[in-house]
């Protein structure tokens, strides 16, 4: 029985690899404190990545991805001419348990897991106001990271739901809505005063899979 059971499991175990592209929509969580006219706005970005998954059985697998994704946001003021658009590029490595269900060709799935990441670069552009000389200043510049202030390592929880369609024996496509919940503030505790800032990112992605 044990041998039959094991044989049955091994018969379902299979590898799959794939690639995905998509859009991200990032929410920057920050306490405005007394900066009453500051508004932080969510912003779209892009994502591209590779994935590998080991299906333990017909309903569960372990999935890992390597994605280049953007966690962008905008900060602007209502009383002063200022609008900064931040484009933040991250390399992320989500590792998730993948649960799937449904028919032979069309299946639904749910991914749950954790991710690690690294903040590769930051670019900001927009306008600011020089109150001393009273002029509006437009800029577009790469941001130099400040090793005391900026936390470049990122980690958190990730989960998503999606649909998968097997259109050929070894090929399929996927579409997924995924949510990354960072538990790492992008700002280190470089002061006694705690002022953490977090990214929460919705990723809408579609990809192609090859089943071995």
């Amino acid at each position: 029985m044990a041998v039959l059971g094991l044989t049955a499991m091994q018969a379902h175990a299979q590898w799959r690899i794939g690639a995905n592209v998509g859009a991200t929509y990032n929410h920057f969580t920050v306490d405005k404190h007394y900066l009453i006219d500051y508004n932080y706005k969510d912003r779209w970005g892009t994502q591209i990545g590779l994935m590998g998954q080991y299906d333990v059985n017909d309903w569960m697998g372990i999935r890992a991805e390597l994605n280049l994704m953007q966690k962008n946001h905008t900060v602007e003021r209502t009383q002063v001419l200022m609008k900064h658009q931040y484009t933040n590029n991250y390399l992320t490595l989500p590792v998730m348990a993948s649960f799937n269900f449904g028919g032979e060709k069309l299946r639904g799935f749910c991914n749950l897991g954790v991710y690690g990441g690294y903040w590769l670069s930051c670019h900001k552009e927009g306008s600011d106001y020089n109150s001393f000389h009273e002029y509006e200043y437009s800029f577009s510049e790469d941001v130099d990271f400040n090793s005391k202030r900026d936390q470049r390592w990122d980690c958190g929880f990730v989960g998503g739901v999606g649909l998968e369609y097997h259109f050929a024996e070894h090929w399929g496509v996927q579409a997924e809505a995924r949510y990354y919940y960072s538990t790492t503030s992008v700002q280190k505790d470089y002061m006694k005063v705690k002022d953490p800032k977090y990214n929460s990112t919705l990723a809408l992605q579609a990809g192609v899979i090859y089943f071995f």
């Binding site: 649960f99 109150s131 202030r149 538990t183 503030s185 002022d195």
Partner: protein
């Protein structure tokens, strides 16, 4: 089975998510007199410290400079000083009060490490009610070799007028600047030396010596001698005991009123109309080809710019009116002479004397150095950076620090004497004179000179206060700047809202100042001339 696993996983995830993000501390604004923010600080030393430490943590514009350049750890300062303030709160106000000298010493040690040149902090002793000030920039500069000689220094052109180097001499002086020009710089009480015998205390001493030398003085001469000696004695005696400029002005006006019958030149009452924006200027043409202009503060705009001038609010014929017009005329003469000599090909150079100039309004830049630019141009001298959040490193992008020139005809459309000027940019040597009491706008003007290929800074390194300030009502442009309100809140900090950054995009010279291109100590030469003006003339004439 799989449903149970999935459900359990989702629940665990939800629980974990809610626990994984830190809350931020509650931060408040320290820019206004808010009872909720400052109320407890009226009675508690610790609350005053926390207001100061947190206010500075949020508002101070140059933490990166303090930490990277000077090694200041603001968090360590909190850990070190909090217990000291806690000890003060343990003391009983009636039986064991904290004295002002004790509290002053603690405040000095707390504030001294901060390098912003404008920075002044005021704490009101909860036990005595007295406001105690600390000005770290002044403490820092007091150890400099040229500090003493720069105090209340006003350049004297007397020797140049006497030997014919200076012609067309004009001056104007309102309010407290009378003190420096008329008294402080005419007789050196420390060296017992008459610098200028023609007015002020120098005149008093010269007259005393003259009368004492008379073999047979008349009765009125003896009376005059006695009164002059009394004036001198009272001035020297009481001046040694005054604590601040307000008391000095009061003493001065007392002397003026009591001894007005002596008719000492320059002994003019200081009007309260110019207590805040008093200004002294001097203009002369040196060597027939070098217009020289000196002024004590960047308040020229209130005299020279018709849009902002206070002159029309004064009563013609009064001393205030006469001196204000004299200021305008002296500046205008300098401006016109520069352009006239340039047009005739006879301009050798220009000297702008900013020694012991305490700074003031940004708009004055255009009236002085900016008036020498090619018309229609401005000059980037570096960068400015503002606070953009409550974090110590929350900064704006670097924005160009651009200084404007002026169009003389646009500035003075109703001034007949300038209507025929074909304004030209000055390419001849320009010298800006500085010393350790050249502060704020004086230093920012010297910074402008550094950015001009034909300009040189001569003299001594400036004070180190280049970062700009605005009033509290503008604080929310950048959510930075002053902490509290002077005289109202138990803690007050006068601190900039913008960091001034050098053309390399990195260097902040706060606490250091502008280093002159040619370093020259100030001495009065045996001929009575000014060593730094002499060096400026040498540079203009020889290029060295």
């Amino acid at each position: 089975m799989k449903t149970k696993i999935m459900t359990l996983g989702a629940m665990l995830l939800m629980l974990t998510l809610s626990a994984c993000r830190e809350e931020s501390d509650m931060l408040v604004s320290y820019n206004q007199n808010d009872v909720l923010v400052f109320g407890k600080a009226n009675e508690s030393f610790v609350e005053q410290f926390e207001v100061f430490w947190n206010g500075m943590n949020q508002n101070y514009a140059i933490w990166d400079c303090e930490e990277n350049q000077y090694g200041l750890d603001w968090d360590e300062v909190h850990d070190r000083f909090l217990p000291l303030f806690e000890q003060l709160d343990q003391r009983d106000k009636d039986t064991d009060p904290v004295s002002d000298s004790e509290y002053q010493a603690l405040i000095d040690s707390l504030a001294k490490p901060l390098h912003d040149g404008h920075f002044v902090v005021q704490f009101k002793n909860p036990h005595t009610g007295k406001a105690l000030n600390c000005y770290p920039g002044k403490i820092r500069n007091a150890s400099r070799d040229d500090y003493e000689v720069s105090q209340d220094f006003v350049p004297s052109l007397a020797a140049y007028v006497f030997n014919g180097t200076a012609t067309d001499y004009q001056s104007g002086c309102t309010s407290q600047q009378h003190l420096a020009i008329m008294f402080g710089n005419t007789y050196d009480v420390n060296k017992d030396m008459i610098i200028n015998p023609n007015y002020g205390l120098g005149y008093v001493v010269a007259q005393i010596n003259e009368l004492k030398a008379k073999q047979s003085p008349t009765s009125s001469q003896r009376t005059r001698l006695t009164q002059l000696q009394n004036l001198f004695a009272e001035w020297v005696l009481y001046k040694a005991s005054v604590n601040n400029r307000a008391e000095l002005i009061a003493l001065y006006n007392y002397i003026v009123n009591k001894y007005q019958s002596l008719k000492v030149p320059g002994l003019i009452l200081i009007s309260s109309a110019f207590n805040e924006y008093g200004l002294g200027v001097q203009y002369a043409l040196l060597n027939g080809d070098t217009p020289y202009f000196a002024f004590t503060n960047f308040f020229l705009t209130l005299y020279a710019n018709p849009k902002y001038s206070n002159i029309n609010q004064l009563t013609p014929g009064t001393e205030d009116y006469k001196q204000s017009v004299a200021i305008y005329n002296a500046w205008l003469s300098w401006l016109k002479k520069v352009q006239e000599l340039k047009a005739n090909g006879k301009l050798k150079g220009v000297i702008i004397d900013l020694r012991s100039n305490g700074g003031g309004m940004f708009a004055d830049f255009g009236l002085v150095l900016g008036s020498l630019f090619q018309p229609g141009t401005d000059l980037q001298v570096g960068y400015q950076r503002f606070k953009r959040g409550p974090g110590r490193y929350d900064y704006s992008p670097l924005m160009p620090d651009v200084r404007p020139g002026i169009d003389i005809l646009e500035l003075l459309p109703n001034e007949p004497s300038v209507q025929n000027i074909q304004q030209q940019g000055i390419t001849e040597p320009i010298v800006v004179l500085t010393n350790c009491m050249s502060v704020s706008m004086a230093e920012m003007t010297a910074m402008g000179a550094k950015a001009m290929p034909n300009a040189r800074v001569i003299g001594k390194r400036t004070f180190g206060g280049l970062c700009g300030l605005t009033n509290n009502e503008y604080a929310n442009y950048n959510y930075s700047g002053h902490i509290g309100i002077a005289g109202q809140t138990p803690v007050y900090c006068y601190t900039p809202t913008v960091a001034t950054i050098q053309p390399d995009g990195k260097t902040i010279l706060e606490g250091i100042g502008i280093t002159p291109d040619i370093d020259v100590n100030y001495v009065v030469t045996p001929a009575g001339t000014d060593s730094q003006i002499d060096r400026a003339l040498q540079y203009i004439q020889t290029g060295n």
